[in-house]
Amino acid sequence: MISSIEILTPKNLNEVLGILSSHDRDLRIIAGGTDVVTGLKQESNRFIKTEVLIDINHVAEVKGIEQTNGRISIGAASTFTEIYKNQIVSKELPILKKAVRTIGSLQIRNRATIAGNFVNNAPCADTVPALLVYNATIEIESINSKREMSLQEFLQGPYKTQLKKDEIVTRINIPVPQKTFVGDFYKLGRRQAVAISRITFAVLIELEENKITEIRIASGAVTPIGTRFSELEEFAKGKEVNNNFLKNLASKMGEEIIKLTGLRWSSEYKLPVVQQMFYQILRSATTKNL
């Protein structure tokens, strides 16, 4: 049984910011509720003190997906179903679309929202690797400030972000990819639907005459937080794509992951799985068009 909580339903962003600026009670934002309600039910430490929930489902400023001036702006409270069905996303952000498709079940995707996926910075957030390879930035507002930062910067550490108590993530902005990228997203979980991911990878690659001119690599779940791999990206730049090189890159990815997580009881299993998975995603990305 969830104890009684007051639920406010502001009608616009100004009202939300006003409520957030009053610090006398423990406030939480709720949209789809797939994290908040389960957290409350399971008496998670993250939610135990919650007195008031702010339902942002009626706030137009955090909804909708638009493309203007070379960038795509996704409302923070866009549901995964809305993102999956959106034509701009289908055309310009196929890796995000693929990642969204692996989340939860249809019932979950009909409610859960994109900012809700990463705003608590759980390592297993499936949209994070995809958003990272698209160089997403996060728009954040409070009653007297407005700032924007890269998602990588926003995600500070496991379950820790830059978000302050009086702030709300309003939009996720992604520069429209100007290059012809190939790429892929892969999620490994215990089963396909309604599974918390164990390992996720996203890659975007620009190829010119079979040489890598740009590559962006990101992981989730297997690393403490979603991460880009800038050293690997540098290493791969300018290299010719062939089987040996992809195997080499995958083996280096395994080493990077061990470096980030340390040797664990599960490493014996995870290392070869990570390497094989990453090799396969590189293969599929470089052998088929998006």
């Binding site: 009684s4 639920i7 389960t38 039910k41 339902d55 939860g104 249809l106 019932q107 409610r111 639907a193």
Partner: protein, 156 residues
Amino acid sequence: MIKLKFILNGKEVVVETEPSVRLLDLLRDRFNLTGTKEGCGIGECGACTVLMNGKAVNSCLIFAAQVEGNEIITIEGIANGNELHPIQKSFLKYGAVQCGFCSPAMVLSAFALLEENPNPTEEEIKDAIAGNLCRCTGYKQIIEAIKEIAEELVHK
């Protein structure tokens, strides 16, 4: 307490409730609509699936206050009086029901799918019910039942 107004199975209803009561409990305890089941209570089994504005959702993850002004359909709302809905008939015909605990939600997931896509592929059917766990049937009969009714709808 809040005064909540929404549309339930086609009728406008008003109820006084605590705002953080789950839609699942509201339906079962206040409206006696016990076809909506609680399995896991954390959005993983789908037994509490209802339709909100035509979309399948887990009623265990929605608070009463979030239902204001929305349209909810439960399993009790799809039959026509004593006449079962064609999906329900098809489930019976194919033996897609064993213990029955997942069935109301499964039927609603099928209902939402066919409203949006009257001619789904087997993969689309599987995807639409991936959030509905059934521990008895092995899903085969369920998928067949949905497939047949989809074909009927298309040829109507």
